[in-house]
Protein backbone atom coordinates (compact mmCIF):
# COMPACT_ATOMS: atom_id res chain seq x y z
CA UNK A 1 0.00 0.00 0.00
CA UNK A 2 1.23 3.47 -0.88
CA UNK A 3 0.19 6.77 0.58
CA UNK A 4 -0.23 10.00 -1.30
CA UNK A 5 1.80 12.84 0.18
CA UNK A 6 1.89 16.47 -0.89
CA UNK A 7 4.49 18.80 0.53
CA UNK A 8 6.78 21.61 -0.48
CA UNK A 9 10.48 20.94 -0.83
CA UNK A 10 12.66 24.06 -0.97
CA UNK A 11 9.61 26.01 -2.08
CA UNK A 12 8.50 23.61 -4.82
CA UNK A 13 5.30 21.57 -4.62
CA UNK A 14 5.82 17.82 -4.60
CA UNK A 15 3.37 14.98 -4.90
CA UNK A 16 4.46 11.39 -4.35
CA UNK A 17 3.14 7.95 -3.45
CA UNK A 18 5.20 6.37 -0.68
CA UNK A 19 5.13 3.20 1.43
CA UNK A 20 4.45 3.75 5.14
CA UNK A 21 7.76 2.21 6.19
CA UNK A 22 9.95 4.72 4.35
CA UNK A 23 11.45 7.58 6.30
CA UNK A 24 11.57 11.20 5.19
CA UNK A 25 15.31 10.72 4.73
CA UNK A 26 14.79 7.82 2.31
CA UNK A 27 12.16 9.77 0.36
CA UNK A 28 14.48 12.76 0.00
CA UNK A 29 17.51 10.74 -1.04
CA UNK A 30 16.17 7.73 -2.93
CA UNK A 31 12.86 8.96 -4.33
CA UNK A 32 13.76 12.59 -5.06
CA UNK A 33 17.53 12.31 -5.46
CA UNK A 34 18.22 15.09 -2.95
CA UNK A 35 21.49 13.62 -1.71
CA UNK A 36 22.59 16.58 0.43
CA UNK A 37 20.78 15.21 3.46
CA UNK A 38 22.96 12.43 4.91
CA UNK A 39 22.27 9.29 6.85
CA UNK A 40 24.58 8.91 9.83
CA UNK A 41 23.16 7.01 12.78
CA UNK A 42 19.60 6.61 11.55
CA UNK A 43 18.40 6.97 15.12
CA UNK A 44 18.01 10.70 15.75
CA UNK A 45 21.35 11.12 17.48
CA UNK A 46 23.96 12.44 15.02
CA UNK A 47 22.07 15.19 13.16
CA UNK A 48 23.54 14.41 9.71
CA UNK A 49 19.97 14.21 8.33
CA UNK A 50 18.80 17.53 9.84
CA UNK A 51 16.28 19.35 7.64
CA UNK A 52 14.02 22.29 8.46
CA UNK A 53 10.39 21.15 8.57
CA UNK A 54 7.72 23.82 9.08
CA UNK A 55 10.42 26.19 10.26
CA UNK A 56 12.06 23.90 12.79
CA UNK A 57 15.09 21.61 12.58
CA UNK A 58 14.19 17.92 12.77
CA UNK A 59 15.93 14.61 12.11
CA UNK A 60 14.63 13.28 8.76
CA UNK A 61 15.59 9.72 9.77
CA UNK A 62 12.88 9.49 12.40
CA UNK A 63 9.99 10.98 10.45
CA UNK A 64 7.85 8.46 8.56
CA UNK A 65 7.21 9.23 4.90
CA UNK A 66 3.41 9.60 5.26
CA UNK A 67 4.00 12.20 7.99
CA UNK A 68 5.51 14.48 5.34
CA UNK A 69 2.05 15.18 3.95
CA UNK A 70 1.37 18.91 4.28
CA UNK A 71 4.87 19.79 5.48
CA UNK A 72 7.11 22.54 4.22
CA UNK A 73 10.60 21.06 4.07
CA UNK A 74 13.92 22.75 3.45
CA UNK A 75 17.12 20.87 2.73
CA UNK A 76 20.68 22.03 2.20
CA UNK A 77 19.99 22.19 -1.57
CA UNK A 78 17.53 25.00 -0.90
CA UNK A 79 19.99 27.34 0.83
CA UNK A 80 21.97 28.75 -2.10
CA UNK A 81 19.89 30.89 -4.47
CA UNK A 82 20.89 31.43 -8.11
CA UNK A 83 24.27 29.89 -7.49
CA UNK A 84 25.03 32.21 -4.58
CA UNK A 85 25.87 30.67 -1.22
CA UNK A 86 24.22 32.06 1.91
CA UNK A 87 26.44 34.10 4.27
CA UNK A 88 26.45 31.11 6.62
CA UNK A 89 27.71 28.81 3.87
CA UNK A 90 30.33 31.42 2.92
CA UNK A 91 31.44 31.55 6.55
CA UNK A 92 31.82 27.74 6.64
CA UNK A 93 34.07 28.00 3.58
CA UNK A 94 36.16 30.92 4.85
CA UNK A 95 36.65 29.34 8.28
CA UNK A 96 37.41 25.91 6.75
CA UNK A 97 34.68 24.61 9.03
CA UNK A 98 34.60 21.27 7.27
CA UNK A 99 36.90 18.47 6.26
CA UNK A 100 35.08 15.42 4.97
CA UNK A 101 31.84 17.41 4.80
CA UNK A 102 29.48 14.59 5.71
CA UNK A 103 28.05 16.39 8.72
CA UNK A 104 28.06 19.82 7.06
CA UNK A 105 24.52 19.84 5.59
CA UNK A 106 23.12 18.98 9.01
CA UNK A 107 25.15 21.71 10.72
CA UNK A 108 24.07 24.23 8.08
CA UNK A 109 20.40 23.40 8.59
CA UNK A 110 20.61 23.55 12.40
CA UNK A 111 22.51 26.84 12.23
CA UNK A 112 20.18 28.30 9.57
CA UNK A 113 17.17 27.54 11.80
CA UNK A 114 18.97 29.11 14.77
CA UNK A 115 19.92 32.31 12.94
CA UNK A 116 16.38 32.80 11.65
CA UNK A 117 14.97 32.48 15.14
CA UNK A 118 17.76 34.33 16.87
CA UNK A 119 19.86 36.46 14.47
CA UNK A 120 22.47 37.28 17.14
CA UNK A 121 22.92 34.21 19.32
CA UNK A 122 25.47 34.07 22.12
CA UNK A 123 28.22 31.47 21.79
CA UNK A 124 26.46 29.31 24.38
CA UNK A 125 23.26 29.41 22.34
CA UNK A 126 25.17 28.36 19.24
CA UNK A 127 26.75 25.46 21.09
CA UNK A 128 23.36 24.32 22.35
CA UNK A 129 21.74 24.65 18.94
CA UNK A 130 24.32 22.38 17.30
CA UNK A 131 24.67 19.92 20.17
CA UNK A 132 22.49 17.48 18.20
CA UNK A 133 24.98 17.50 15.31
CA UNK A 134 28.08 15.36 15.55
CA UNK A 135 31.31 16.02 13.69
CA UNK A 136 34.04 13.40 13.77
CA UNK A 137 36.86 15.16 11.94
CA UNK A 138 36.82 18.96 11.85
CA UNK A 139 36.08 19.56 15.49
CA UNK A 140 33.57 22.10 16.66
CA UNK A 141 35.64 25.27 17.16
CA UNK A 142 35.73 26.29 13.50
CA UNK A 143 32.06 25.43 13.06
CA UNK A 144 31.11 27.60 16.04
CA UNK A 145 33.31 30.43 14.77
CA UNK A 146 31.75 30.23 11.31
CA UNK A 147 28.25 30.53 12.81
CA UNK A 148 29.41 33.43 15.01
CA UNK A 149 30.81 35.13 11.96
CA UNK A 150 27.58 34.70 9.99
CA UNK A 151 25.63 36.04 12.98
CA UNK A 152 27.93 39.06 13.23
CA UNK A 153 27.18 39.93 9.61
CA UNK A 154 23.43 39.54 10.13
CA UNK A 155 21.62 42.82 9.51
CA UNK A 156 24.81 44.86 9.14
Amino acid sequence: MKYQIRFTLNGEEQELYVPANYTMLRVLRDELNFMGTKEGCGAGECGACTVIADGRPVNACIVLAPEMDGMSIETVEGLAKDGRLTPLQEAFVSHAALQCGFCTPGFLMSATALLRENPHPAREEIIRAISGNLCRCTGYVRIIEAIEDAARDNGQ
Binding site: A20, G44, I62, V63, L64, P66, S110, A129, G132
Partner: protein, 277 residues
Protein backbone atom coordinates in the same frame (compact mmCIF):
# COMPACT_ATOMS: atom_id res chain seq x y z
CA UNK B 1 11.65 -1.81 8.80
CA UNK B 2 8.72 -4.13 8.10
CA UNK B 3 5.78 -2.58 6.33
CA UNK B 4 2.62 -1.55 8.13
CA UNK B 5 -0.56 0.39 7.51
CA UNK B 6 -0.51 4.08 8.39
CA UNK B 7 -3.62 5.78 9.74
CA UNK B 8 -4.00 9.44 10.62
CA UNK B 9 -7.41 9.83 12.28
CA UNK B 10 -8.79 13.33 12.70
CA UNK B 11 -11.08 12.70 15.68
CA UNK B 12 -10.69 10.84 18.95
CA UNK B 13 -13.62 8.54 18.17
CA UNK B 14 -12.08 7.58 14.84
CA UNK B 15 -8.79 6.88 16.61
CA UNK B 16 -10.55 4.78 19.26
CA UNK B 17 -12.33 2.65 16.68
CA UNK B 18 -8.94 2.02 15.01
CA UNK B 19 -7.56 1.08 18.43
CA UNK B 20 -10.47 -1.31 18.94
CA UNK B 21 -10.04 -2.80 15.47
CA UNK B 22 -6.32 -3.52 15.75
CA UNK B 23 -5.96 -4.14 19.50
CA UNK B 24 -2.37 -5.00 20.42
CA UNK B 25 -1.28 -5.09 16.77
CA UNK B 26 -1.31 -1.30 16.38
CA UNK B 27 1.07 1.25 17.84
CA UNK B 28 0.31 4.92 18.49
CA UNK B 29 2.66 7.48 16.93
CA UNK B 30 3.22 11.03 18.16
CA UNK B 31 6.75 12.44 17.75
CA UNK B 32 8.14 9.10 16.61
CA UNK B 33 11.46 9.46 18.42
CA UNK B 34 10.90 6.13 20.20
CA UNK B 35 8.43 4.43 17.84
CA UNK B 36 10.38 4.89 14.60
CA UNK B 37 13.56 3.59 16.24
CA UNK B 38 11.69 0.57 17.62
CA UNK B 39 10.28 -0.09 14.13
CA UNK B 40 13.69 0.24 12.55
CA UNK B 41 15.34 -2.07 15.09
CA UNK B 42 12.53 -4.62 14.65
CA UNK B 43 11.71 -4.35 18.33
CA UNK B 44 8.10 -3.92 17.29
CA UNK B 45 6.36 -5.04 14.09
CA UNK B 46 2.83 -3.65 14.26
CA UNK B 47 0.17 -4.25 11.65
CA UNK B 48 -0.75 -0.57 11.83
CA UNK B 49 0.69 2.73 13.02
CA UNK B 50 -1.90 5.23 14.23
CA UNK B 51 -0.60 8.79 14.01
CA UNK B 52 -2.36 10.86 16.69
CA UNK B 53 -1.08 14.27 15.53
CA UNK B 54 -4.17 14.90 13.40
CA UNK B 55 -6.69 14.35 16.20
CA UNK B 56 -8.58 17.59 16.67
CA UNK B 57 -9.37 17.05 20.38
CA UNK B 58 -5.73 16.61 21.38
CA UNK B 59 -3.80 19.73 22.41
CA UNK B 60 -0.47 21.10 23.50
CA UNK B 61 0.03 22.79 26.89
CA UNK B 62 -3.08 24.36 28.44
CA UNK B 63 -2.73 26.33 31.67
CA UNK B 64 -6.10 26.90 33.33
CA UNK B 65 -7.45 27.85 36.74
CA UNK B 66 -6.83 24.47 38.38
CA UNK B 67 -4.36 22.49 36.31
CA UNK B 68 -1.42 22.38 34.02
CA UNK B 69 -2.62 20.20 31.14
CA UNK B 70 0.11 18.57 29.09
CA UNK B 71 -1.89 17.48 26.05
CA UNK B 72 -0.75 14.50 23.99
CA UNK B 73 0.53 16.83 21.26
CA UNK B 74 2.88 18.72 23.62
CA UNK B 75 6.43 18.54 22.32
CA UNK B 76 9.41 18.63 24.65
CA UNK B 77 10.26 22.01 23.19
CA UNK B 78 6.82 23.45 23.96
CA UNK B 79 7.00 22.16 27.54
CA UNK B 80 10.56 23.44 28.02
CA UNK B 81 9.69 26.94 26.75
CA UNK B 82 6.17 27.44 28.13
CA UNK B 83 6.25 30.62 30.27
CA UNK B 84 3.85 29.32 32.97
CA UNK B 85 5.71 26.03 33.23
CA UNK B 86 9.02 27.90 33.49
CA UNK B 87 7.58 30.09 36.26
CA UNK B 88 5.78 27.44 38.34
CA UNK B 89 7.71 24.24 37.63
CA UNK B 90 11.15 25.19 36.27
CA UNK B 91 12.44 21.70 37.13
CA UNK B 92 9.87 20.19 34.72
CA UNK B 93 10.89 22.58 31.93
CA UNK B 94 14.51 21.74 32.73
CA UNK B 95 13.84 18.00 32.42
CA UNK B 96 12.11 18.50 29.05
CA UNK B 97 15.00 20.64 27.80
CA UNK B 98 17.48 17.88 28.63
CA UNK B 99 15.87 15.26 26.38
CA UNK B 100 17.82 14.45 23.22
CA UNK B 101 18.74 17.32 20.92
CA UNK B 102 16.99 20.44 19.63
CA UNK B 103 15.90 18.47 16.55
CA UNK B 104 14.47 15.71 18.72
CA UNK B 105 12.68 18.09 21.11
CA UNK B 106 10.87 19.61 18.13
CA UNK B 107 9.21 16.22 17.56
CA UNK B 108 9.30 14.13 20.76
CA UNK B 109 6.33 14.54 23.10
CA UNK B 110 6.11 14.47 26.88
CA UNK B 111 3.15 12.06 26.81
CA UNK B 112 5.12 9.79 24.48
CA UNK B 113 8.02 9.87 26.95
CA UNK B 114 5.69 8.60 29.69
CA UNK B 115 3.80 6.05 27.55
CA UNK B 116 7.13 4.64 26.35
CA UNK B 117 7.76 3.91 30.06
CA UNK B 118 11.52 3.75 30.04
CA UNK B 119 12.91 3.64 33.60
CA UNK B 120 15.10 6.62 32.73
CA UNK B 121 12.48 8.81 31.05
CA UNK B 122 13.57 12.37 31.79
CA UNK B 123 10.12 13.89 32.29
CA UNK B 124 9.11 11.00 34.56
CA UNK B 125 10.70 12.16 37.81
CA UNK B 126 9.28 15.73 37.83
CA UNK B 127 5.82 14.36 37.01
CA UNK B 128 6.11 11.68 39.72
CA UNK B 129 7.15 14.37 42.21
CA UNK B 130 4.21 16.56 41.16
CA UNK B 131 1.74 13.68 41.64
CA UNK B 132 0.67 14.07 38.02
CA UNK B 133 -2.33 12.17 36.71
CA UNK B 134 -2.36 10.39 33.35
CA UNK B 135 -5.68 10.97 31.59
CA UNK B 136 -7.04 8.65 28.92
CA UNK B 137 -10.28 8.79 26.97
CA UNK B 138 -11.76 6.52 29.69
CA UNK B 139 -10.15 7.25 33.07
CA UNK B 140 -7.58 9.04 35.21
CA UNK B 141 -4.60 7.13 36.60
CA UNK B 142 -1.95 8.45 39.04
CA UNK B 143 1.34 8.42 37.15
CA UNK B 144 3.01 6.05 39.64
CA UNK B 145 0.30 3.47 38.88
CA UNK B 146 0.36 4.15 35.13
CA UNK B 147 3.94 2.95 34.58
CA UNK B 148 4.04 -0.65 35.80
CA UNK B 149 7.41 -2.02 34.68
CA UNK B 150 10.18 -1.48 32.11
CA UNK B 151 8.27 -0.33 28.99
CA UNK B 152 4.95 -1.50 30.47
CA UNK B 153 1.99 0.66 31.34
CA UNK B 154 -1.56 0.04 32.48
CA UNK B 155 -2.86 1.53 29.22
CA UNK B 156 -5.43 -0.83 27.68
CA UNK B 157 -5.28 -1.72 23.98
CA UNK B 158 -8.44 0.29 23.33
CA UNK B 159 -7.33 3.40 25.23
CA UNK B 160 -5.51 6.57 24.21
CA UNK B 161 -3.73 8.95 26.59
CA UNK B 162 -5.16 12.39 25.91
CA UNK B 163 -2.85 14.20 28.29
CA UNK B 164 -1.25 14.53 31.70
CA UNK B 165 -2.90 16.65 34.37
CA UNK B 166 -0.84 18.43 37.02
CA UNK B 167 -2.99 20.07 39.72
CA UNK B 168 -1.63 23.52 40.59
CA UNK B 169 0.63 23.43 43.63
CA UNK B 170 3.26 25.54 45.32
CA UNK B 171 6.59 23.82 45.39
CA UNK B 172 10.23 24.41 44.70
CA UNK B 173 13.14 22.19 43.91
CA UNK B 174 15.32 20.92 41.13
CA UNK B 175 15.81 18.33 38.44
CA UNK B 176 19.17 16.61 38.07
CA UNK B 177 20.36 14.55 35.14
CA UNK B 178 23.61 12.66 35.35
CA UNK B 179 24.81 11.52 31.94
CA UNK B 180 28.14 11.03 30.17
CA UNK B 181 27.44 13.98 27.86
CA UNK B 182 25.36 17.02 28.76
CA UNK B 183 23.26 16.87 25.56
CA UNK B 184 21.92 14.05 23.41
CA UNK B 185 22.44 11.37 26.02
CA UNK B 186 20.38 9.06 28.16
CA UNK B 187 20.28 9.54 31.90
CA UNK B 188 22.60 7.40 33.99
CA UNK B 189 20.55 8.63 36.94
CA UNK B 190 17.91 11.37 36.92
CA UNK B 191 15.97 12.84 39.81
CA UNK B 192 13.60 15.51 41.00
CA UNK B 193 13.66 16.72 44.61
CA UNK B 194 10.91 19.10 45.72
CA UNK B 195 9.73 20.88 48.81
CA UNK B 196 6.05 21.78 49.18
CA UNK B 197 5.43 23.56 52.49
CA UNK B 198 6.97 21.25 55.09
CA UNK B 199 6.73 18.11 53.00
CA UNK B 200 9.31 16.71 50.60
CA UNK B 201 9.11 14.67 47.45
CA UNK B 202 12.02 12.69 46.05
CA UNK B 203 11.74 10.92 42.75
CA UNK B 204 14.49 9.01 40.93
CA UNK B 205 14.84 7.51 37.46
CA UNK B 206 17.15 4.76 36.12
CA UNK B 207 17.45 3.18 39.56
CA UNK B 208 14.59 0.64 39.34
CA UNK B 209 12.31 -0.87 36.65
CA UNK B 210 10.13 2.25 36.83
CA UNK B 211 10.74 5.80 38.07
CA UNK B 212 10.41 5.74 41.86
CA UNK B 213 9.09 7.95 44.64
CA UNK B 214 11.19 7.48 47.77
CA UNK B 215 8.31 7.39 50.27
CA UNK B 216 10.37 6.23 53.26
CA UNK B 217 12.94 8.98 52.80
CA UNK B 218 10.14 11.51 52.33
CA UNK B 219 8.53 10.31 55.62
CA UNK B 220 11.84 10.85 57.37
CA UNK B 221 11.90 14.48 56.23
CA UNK B 222 8.23 15.50 56.30
CA UNK B 223 7.14 18.03 58.89
CA UNK B 224 10.63 18.72 60.21
CA UNK B 225 13.06 21.52 59.49
CA UNK B 226 15.95 20.63 57.18
CA UNK B 227 19.26 20.34 58.99
CA UNK B 228 22.62 19.06 57.83
CA UNK B 229 22.20 15.99 60.04
CA UNK B 230 18.75 15.20 58.65
CA UNK B 231 20.01 15.61 55.09
CA UNK B 232 22.73 13.05 55.84
CA UNK B 233 20.11 10.65 57.16
CA UNK B 234 17.99 11.20 54.05
CA UNK B 235 20.95 10.58 51.73
CA UNK B 236 21.64 7.22 53.42
CA UNK B 237 17.95 6.34 53.39
CA UNK B 238 17.60 7.22 49.68
CA UNK B 239 20.52 4.96 48.87
CA UNK B 240 18.77 2.07 50.63
CA UNK B 241 15.42 2.74 48.99
CA UNK B 242 16.46 2.42 45.32
CA UNK B 243 17.19 -0.79 43.44
CA UNK B 244 19.51 -0.02 40.54
CA UNK B 245 21.29 -2.49 38.29
CA UNK B 246 24.62 -2.39 36.49
CA UNK B 247 24.35 -1.79 32.76
CA UNK B 248 26.14 -0.27 29.80
CA UNK B 249 25.91 3.25 31.26
CA UNK B 250 27.04 2.65 34.84
CA UNK B 251 27.55 0.18 37.64
CA UNK B 252 25.09 -0.41 40.44
CA UNK B 253 27.60 1.08 42.91
CA UNK B 254 27.99 4.28 40.89
CA UNK B 255 24.24 4.71 40.70
CA UNK B 256 23.91 4.25 44.48
CA UNK B 257 26.61 6.89 45.00
CA UNK B 258 24.78 9.26 42.64
CA UNK B 259 21.45 8.77 44.44
CA UNK B 260 23.16 9.68 47.70
CA UNK B 261 24.90 12.66 46.10
CA UNK B 262 21.78 14.05 44.41
CA UNK B 263 19.73 13.68 47.59
CA UNK B 264 22.35 15.50 49.63
CA UNK B 265 22.91 18.22 47.02
CA UNK B 266 19.26 18.95 46.21
CA UNK B 267 18.17 19.01 49.85
CA UNK B 268 21.11 21.25 50.75
CA UNK B 269 20.07 23.63 47.98
CA UNK B 270 16.55 23.68 49.41
CA UNK B 271 17.91 24.27 52.94
CA UNK B 272 19.92 27.21 51.64
CA UNK B 273 16.81 28.64 50.03
CA UNK B 274 17.95 28.21 46.44
CA UNK B 275 16.56 25.69 44.07
CA UNK B 276 18.12 26.60 40.77
CA UNK B 277 21.35 25.14 39.53
Amino acid sequence: MKNFLYHKPTTLSEALSLRARYGQSAVLLAGGSDVVIQLREHLIAPEAVIDIKGIAELTGVVWDEHNLWIGAKTTMRELAEHPEVLRAYPFLADAASRVGSKQLRNRATCVGNIVNASPLCDTGTPLYALDAVVVTNAREIPICEFITFVRRTSLAADEIVTGIRVPHQNCKGEFTKISRRSEVDLSTVCATVLQAGDSYRLSFGAVAPTPLRLRETEALLNGKPLTAARIEQAAISARAEVKPISDIRASLEYRLDMVELITRRSLTNLMNGGSEA
